[in-house]
């Protein structure tokens, strides 16, 4: 199978998954108590306006009809209109997405680097103090509630030491001149605005370290056990028997071979990262989709809640496709 065909098949395979999540989300939210129309119009709205609005939103139709309307709307990229802001939900989500992406991306980089270096180092020093340290680290950090850890970092580096900003994505007026991607750290570099780049990175440090470190606990454990498995395999012994240096054995053979399972699990853990992102975003006032979702829940803004969750579903699906493609690229066996 060519890589292209493989990618196409993989994308087709993820459609049912998205459909299932869409269905669950739809029916879960439809049972929520609280009339969204009333929430939108306020208690003093006259009944005829309420009915008109219900009609306009299609809430007076049978639920199964509503379901299919909803699916057909999503298929054409219509996520509905927020009852809170009267803006198209998709537009709001697209506006918030770069922030979430930036946070998760940098957290992932931190988590993956800690995971790979610490995990493979521990596996390589199996049973030695470094290994025990890695295990203690992963178990300990895993039990940190994300928001608790975030607050502690805020306290230490923001409030006490005044080193780093504790909330938001940028200092006032420190926004890149031209927005290409919406990811400030990248846009600033594209514009050549170094001061803005520094500002964006300063804002990124605490939230992405919070999320990255907490997630890294899982990665350390996972990399350790997979590299351990790879290190005990015959081809590693064979490479050693050929006179290959230990460092090369670790990186070229063990780590590279451990990569497909690691990547697959990392792809799965990406879901955990997103969940953590919601807590991190709320802790650091990071203006992303997680913050958006939590705010809108208190307003019973149905289309927005639904939209945010659906958006997450697409994001997760996209990442798992990406992971599979990278795997296929690393490991030729998958491609064929």
């Amino acid at each position: 199978m060519k890589l292209k065909t493989y990618i196409l098949t993989r994308i087709l395979l993820s459609i049912p998954m998205i459909l299932i999540i869409l269905t669950i989300v739809f029916f879960v939210l439809r049972v929520l108590p609280g009339n969204p129309v009333l929430a939108m119009l306020g208690p003093k709205a006259p009944p005829e306006i309420i009915h008109a609005m219900e009609h306009q939103m299609g809430l007076d139709k049978p639920i199964i009809v509503q379901y299919f309307i909803y699916l057909s709307h999503i298929a054409v990229g219509n996520f509905g209109t927020s009852t809170y802001t009267s803006l198209p939900v998709l537009q709001e989500l697209v506006q918030k997405f770069p922030a979430t992406f930036e946070l998760t991306f940098y957290s992932m980089i931190i988590a993956v680097s800690i995971g790979i270096f610490f995990g493979s180092y521990a596996a390589y020093n199996f049973g030695k103090p470094a290994d025990i340290l890695a295990r203690v680290y992963s178990i300990f950090v895993y039990s940190f509630p994300v928001f608790w850890f975030g607050i502690m970092l805020q306290l230490i580096f923001g409030v006490w030491l005044h080193w780093l900003p504790v909330s938001g994505r940028s200092s006032p007026f420190m926004i890149p001149n031209h927005i290409y991607t919406g990811i400030y750290s990248i846009d600033a570099l594209l514009n050549g605005q170094f001061d803005i780049f520094v500002d964006a990175v300063r804002h990124l440090i605490l939230p992405s370290v919070t999320l990255g470190v907490v997630i890294s606990s899982i990665f350390v454990r996972m990399v350790r056990s997979n590299v351990l498995l790879a290190l005990s395999s015959q081809y590693v012994i064979a490479a050693r028997a050929r006179g290959e240096s230990e460092r090369k054995i670790l990186f070229k053979h063990a780590l590279k071979n451990a990569m497909p399972p690691i990547l697959t699990i990392m792809g799965l853990q990406f879901a955990l990262l997103l969940a953590g992102a919601i807590l991190t975003e709320t802790t650091f006032s990071w203006p992303g989709i997680g913050n958006y979702l939590i705010t809108r829940i208190s307003y019973r803004d149905f289309p927005a809640i639904q939209g945010a969750i659906v958006f997450f579903a697409f994001f997760v699906a996209f990442i798992s496709i990406l992971v599979d493609i990278i795997n296929a690229w690393i490991d030729p066996r998958i491609r064929y």
Binding site: Y235, I237, A241, R242, S245, E246, H253, K256, N257
Partner: protein
């Protein structure tokens, strides 16, 4: 003849969660230049462990004592870097399972490149391809397949690649650790042909680890018979087959009706290996030995020199 590698008093233990396994005890043997030594025994008797010890490839929970002298130096006390320079260039090994011995995500040529670069970083790619092609052709694989991945090869072909890798830098010793066990009969024959050719054409000693007495008869010059971690008999091939001394060797040879047939194995002897975690006093073979005496249960037999042959049995003491 010059001695190429000499093993003295080699003992190896594995420390496991539930006790210590005494895998090899007091092994003594040597291999001369151009000579083929065969280590035979049932599976689990410590012969592979001995083979791996020669390249210092034992797992981290293993502890080896004694000495393995190569070029006047003890391999067991070498630093990682010293042994690294010997592996693949001076002593190489062919493993039992060719299916897992090649890195699945590396092309065949990359395996050769890795080997060559590990020992001489100055070689350019053209030279490396030449060396690799040469070695592959010598083991019966077309040089055209250098660009293939391991999973595109059959088991037999992979073993040929492994052999090619082992001989590429013209080492003086090759350890062949049950090179044919996991292959089917026809392929076994082919691989043995390759080994026999090597023995003829290249200037190297081979340590052949096997439980196949047929193969032993075909290629070995000397034989060390191992049982439960001990070498029970050590002799040249002619004497061993003509007049086996140790009861175990005798049983082995009896269980093979025709040594010319290559696939006879040792499972015909009643009883099983003792538990290597807690070995009782006395001879390790006594429970299966037809000629067992009282002393066998009380005292461990020493190595006895008989007519220039070595045997570990009270029958001769």
């Amino acid at each position: 003849m010059d001695t190429n590698i000499e093993i003295k008093n080699l003992s190896i233990e594995y420390r496991m969660r539930n006790g210590t396994v005494h895998a090899v005890r007091d092994a003594d043997f040597s291999v001369d230049k151009k000579e083929t030594l065969s280590i035979v025994g049932e599976s689990g008797c410590g012969k592979s462990t001995t083979g791996h010890a020669i390249l210092k490839l034992l797992p981290s929970n293993a502890r080896a004592t004694g000495s393995i002298i190569y070029n006047g130096k003890n391999i067991l006390t070498m630093s990682n870097n010293e042994i690294r320079q010997i592996r693949g260039k001076h002593i190489s090994i062919v493993f039992q399972d060719p299916m897992t011995s090649l890195d699945p995500i590396m092309r065949v040529k990359d395996h050769f490149f890795e080997l060559i670069k590990a020992h001489d970083s100055k070689v350019n790619e053209q030279e490396m391809i030449e060396i690799a092609s040469c070695a592959l052709e010598a083991s019966g694989v077309s040089a055209k397949r250098l660009n293939n991945y391991p999973f595109e090869f059959s088991g037999g072909m992979r073993q040929r690649v492994m052999i090619a890798l082992a001989i590429a830098l013209q080492p003086s010793v090759i350890v062949a650790d049950e090179p044919t066990t996991s292959l089917d009969v026809v392929v076994q024959e082919q691989i043995m042909e390759v080994l026999k050719n090597l023995k003829r054409t290249k200037d190297m000693s081979i340590i052949l680890i096997t439980h196949d007495l047929g193969i032993v008869a075909e290629v070995a010059d000397k034989v060390a018979v191992m049982y439960a971690g001990e070498i029970v008999e050590y002799a040249d091939i002619y004497n061993l087959y003509k007049n086996p001394l140790h009861p175990y060797t005798q049983l082995l040879l009896k269980s093979v009706p025709n040594i010319k047939i290559g696939d006879m194995e040792l499972h015909n002897i009643p009883g099983s290996l003792p538990d290597l975690k807690n070995i009782p006093q006395g001879c390790r073979f006594r429970d299966r030995c037809p000629m067992v005496k009282d002393i066998c249960k009380k005292e461990t037999p020493p190595i006895i020199d008989k007519d220039g042959r070595k045997v570990r049995c009270w029958l001769y003491g």
